[in-house]
């Protein structure tokens, strides 16, 4: 049993090296004194200074973060409710919604982008933050449904019925019985939605306007003169996530130990 565990840890470690290698390299070049992203020419903090002085990038960070959080939140609620409702409907309707739902995942980003661009123009919506948010909800919700719906399918429907027979309101049955059973699916949906939103360039680019841009737009438009300012930003992002994870997980553990000690 012990031996097996070591093997498992080794394999997981190897996978993580593979996933994190490019990120370590990205962080490494954030300390490069020259503009290059592939040749290290000396140590410096100039890109960090550049980052904090650049109001454009700081604004883009805010746009990316707030859009990702809002879009994830809205699409998770929308997607989860739809998934639950879906399993209770006729087969034809079910198949139809599932297939329509696949369209934004299936279409290349550029097609979705052009489609939405034409749509927003047709409705005379002024392009900017709102249009970007709507577009993000549009392509994030399908990922939530794809993650949650299979869980709904394998869920035992009798539990919710039993709860309601025992006098629970539908709302209580939903929040107390159904949602906890879908926990893993929702968690996966949240992760995928946030990831897709945070990293999107093509769709955001074509549906935004009025000077609203996210980090990806800034990065992609740097093609000619890419510089490590964004690497500095990535390093900070990773650091913040790492510190948060440590605080959330290690601090309660230590606190728990202390309690046990007493």
């Amino acid at each position: 049993m012990k031996k097996k565990k070591i093997g498992a840890i080794l394999y997981i470690a190897l996978c993580f090296i593979f996933l994190y290698l490019p990120i370590v390299v990205t962080m490494f070049y954030s300390f490069n004194s020259s503009k290059s992203l592939t040749k290290f020419q000396g140590f410096s903090f100039r890109w960090y200074q550049n980052l904090f002085e650049s109001s454009d990038i700081m604004r883009a960070v805010w746009v990316s973060l707030s859009i990702a959080i809002l879009a994830t939140l809205i699409s998770t609620v929308l997607g989860t409710l739809t998934s639950i409702g879906l399993s209770k409907n006729r087969k034809i309707l079910k198949e139809l919604v599932i297939n329509i739902n696949n369209v934004p995942i299936m279409n290349p980003d550029i097609v979705t982008a052009i489609g939405l661009m034409i749509l927003f123009s047709a409705f005379h919506l002024e392009k900017g933050y709102l249009t970007m948010l709507l577009a993000h909800i549009a392509f994030c919700t399908p990922y939530v449904i794809t993650s949650v719906y299979p869980k709904v399918r394998t869920m035992d429907p009798n539990l919710a019925n039993a709860a309601m027979d025992l006098g629970a309101t539908p709302f209580q049955a939903l929040t107390k019985v159904i949602l906890p059973m879908l926990k893993e699916g929702i968690f996966a949906g949240v992760l995928l939605a946030f990831t897709m939103s945070f990293d999107d360039f093509v769709i955001s680019y074509f549906v935004t306007g009025n000077g609203v841009s996210n980090i990806s737009i800034v990065v992609y438009n740097m093609t000619k003169r890419t510089n490590p300012t964004i690497n500095a930003l990535s390093t900070i992002v990773i650091m913040v996530i790492a510190v948060t994870l440590i605080i959330v997980n290690v601090v309660p553990a230590i606190a728990g130990k202390k309690k046990k000690g007493k």
């Binding site: 040749k39 454009d56 992609y220």
Partner: protein
Amino acid sequence: MVMTLSMSLITGCGSKSNKTLKVYNAGEYIDTELIHDFEKEFDCKVVYETFDSNESMYTKVQSGEKYDVIIPSDYMIERLIKEDALQKIDWSLIPNAEGLDENVLGLACDPDNEYSVPYFYGNVGILYDKTVVDEADLKDGWEILRNEKYKGMLYMYDSERDSFMIALKALGYSMNTTDKNEIDEAYEWLADQRDTMEPVYAGDDVIDNMISGNKAMAIVYSGDATYIMSENENLAFFAPEEGTNIWNDAMIITKDCADTGLAHEFINFMLDPDNAYANTAEVGYTSPVIEARKKAAADDYAEIDAYIPDMTRPNDEVFRYQDSETKAYFAELWTKIKAAN
């Protein structure tokens, strides 16, 4: 009349600070300090957006997005003029135009500069590693790109216009040809080159790759060459005698622009010798403002000849606007070149 109108607009700017100017430029193509300076000096707000290519800029504008000042390239300016999307420039409002290099004015895309004011300019050539490439081979001009000595050692630029420009010029044709026979001949040239030389068709990653010295030769814009050479001293740049593409990115005012006074002030501001110098020093592309260029050539890019491209060579041309049929034809051939293997 225009003069007094714009004067009143400018003075009006002082009392109210809700004036905005929407500027649309290529990414990383400006010293952003200049935008803040302009906002302060004229008490207005600049909404600054960027694009990654002329074509995506055009798609965006076509979707109904409105901008006041855009900075596209020559052939795109010609297209916008043709589609009646631009306003004429009132040169009397741009006193700093005096400092412009005459060689950068009057290019074929806008012969009298009725609509466009130069921003950056340059040409296209071969960047080569002096330690690998024999200088004697350079006399072959573009044909060096088919010299089997350098098989597997070169980057072509992944753009159909630039690649066909090279083949057409090597064959002695105009790069703006619409003659299908000439285009087909150029296709054969490129297909032959692909088979014998196995080049890599790279995009802007060429910049980092050449700094690291990964291959011996690359097709690059003179402005990029300037920057790469300042980071890797083994490299040199040359534009073959058979002719090359000279390009010019220029500022234009759109029909959507209401506050043309402010737009002209912006253009004038960018041509101020000090501002133009700050811009070229930051970006690395060549300024058409003589004073700024002189200073940059002496201070920042000393001994880098790529910084000042010769605009007077007889065989060089500017890209002209292509109708959609020609463009589709080139695009299809280029897909064939790249995808066939």
